[in-house]
Symmetry: C2
């Protein structure tokens, strides 16, 4: 008999209400996911939006309508209790940040879990590629770009990217490493001159914290899981639940198991 | 009975003296190689130099001492006749450019064949990555850098790189594609700011032809097969034979067969 995995232990702590904050560094060999919950009448358009924008919206799992369980990511996962903190959106407005959504749950809700860059960041660090925002314990810097997503029904909006400054040799290594992880945003979408994707000032991110880019470094940009949140803000469904920023779902699969190569 | 391959037909034309020029575009699905021929007393140091600098000096084959045949690359290859044009170097000075070295051949000579970027350029073009120097029918631009090679015996000198200007999306794709070809220089060694590797002016290459870098492009740098020629110029062996620039040995293996993935 083996004991619970780090993912199971972390979820138990979250489910009990003991852990209500960020999940960065928690059970860090396990896949973490962005969470989006929508009524079934909105879910099909959202799934098509994800299919058409796989780099920002890589779908790890979709629940059965009304079923709060996600057996593909862990037999015991109950999405009503297993995220540390949720955000409740009504018509695109943030209305609450509860730690449990059991009282809100509706019989037609569908849960989407999308891949997250935490998985490839662990692989980068293990390969000796330094990540300044991790070393400085900040959130990664994120930017709305001039690159449009491919629309589906009411879902549209700009591609949002995360940026990590790197020396060229590490940028090249990072392309190699993140190409192995198509389920968690995959290879970068851009590197070098930020104005080519409509970013005016790297020191003014739209989300997260600014981070220095040194003279011998390039900014390297990856498609970001905030992209679907920007599309949700534009589509304004009557109700939508997401995770709170940084407070992800911790799933059973290991990061090392989702590598393509 | 199948007829001769494009590589065999090209070598027959070269052997007969009918083709004495560049091999770019000739039998272009087949691997082409840089050629270095040295007396056995110099060959061991040169092989160690290649082993210590695998990105600029990827060894495809080494002959038996005194044997002009290279069965690993084609059962009929005779290195005395099968390169379109040779360069003969004495004590580091270029003394002749014959099309046949049968009269010069010595019983202790060892042939090295090193991978060449023609193989990965074909893969890049097939993947839709444009190459300006190919479109403009120029030689690729090459530069001596401030990056030292790892010395072995008398062999030392700067890393020489080739440069191809690309938009960021193509630079990212090119890292993915050339990573598959470790035997022909592999992934880039640098991208972006050329001064970080000691290149002052991209418009003044040390070898080959200059090529424009547009405002929305990055220069992308690969380790180059001219690196061993720079090391030979520094080591000044009493006698050394190389191929003339662009006039490579055409081997039997297919580019697609040397991909690592």
């Amino acid at each position: 008999m083996s004991g619970p995995t780090p993912a199971q232990r972390a979820r138990a702590s979250i489910r009990s209400g003991a852990h209500t904050g960020h999940t960065s560094g928690l059970a860090d060999e396990h896949v973490q996911g962005n969470v989006v919950i929508l009524p079934a009448s909105w879910a099909n358009d959202f799934l098509r939006f994800c299919q058409r924008n796989p780099k920002p919206c890589p779908v790890l799992a979709v629940s059965e309508p009304g079923d709060p369980m996600l057996p593909a990511l862990g037999h015991d996962i109950d999405i009503r209790t297993d995220v540390p903190r949720y955000r409740v959106w009504q018509h695109g407005e943030l209305v609450d940040e509860p730690t449990d959504i059991g009282a809100l749950w509706q019989a037609d809700w569908v849960t989407f879990v999308l891949g997250c860059s935490f998985s490839f960041e662990q692989a980068l660090l293990q390969a000796g590629v330094p990540l300044r925002h991790v070393a400085q314990q900040r959130n990664v810097a994120m930017y709305r770009t001039s690159v449009p997503t491919n629309a589906a029904g009411p879902f549209a909006g700009p591609l949002v990217v995360s940026m990590r400054p790197m020396r060229a040799e590490h940028a090249i290594r990072a392309v190699q490493i993140t190409s192995r992880f198509p389920q968690v945003h995959g290879a970068p979408v851009h590197l070098g001159n930020p104005s080519l994707i409509g970013i005016g000032d790297l020191q003014q991110p739209d989300y997260g914290d600014p981070v220095d880019v040194l003279d011998d470094e390039l900014p390297v940009f990856w498609a970001c899981g905030v992209t679907p949140q920007a599309a949700l803000a534009q589509a304004k469904p009557p109700i939508c639940i997401t995770h709170a920023p940084g407070a992800m779902l911790i799933a059973d699969p290991l990061n090392s198991h989702i590598a393509a190569l």
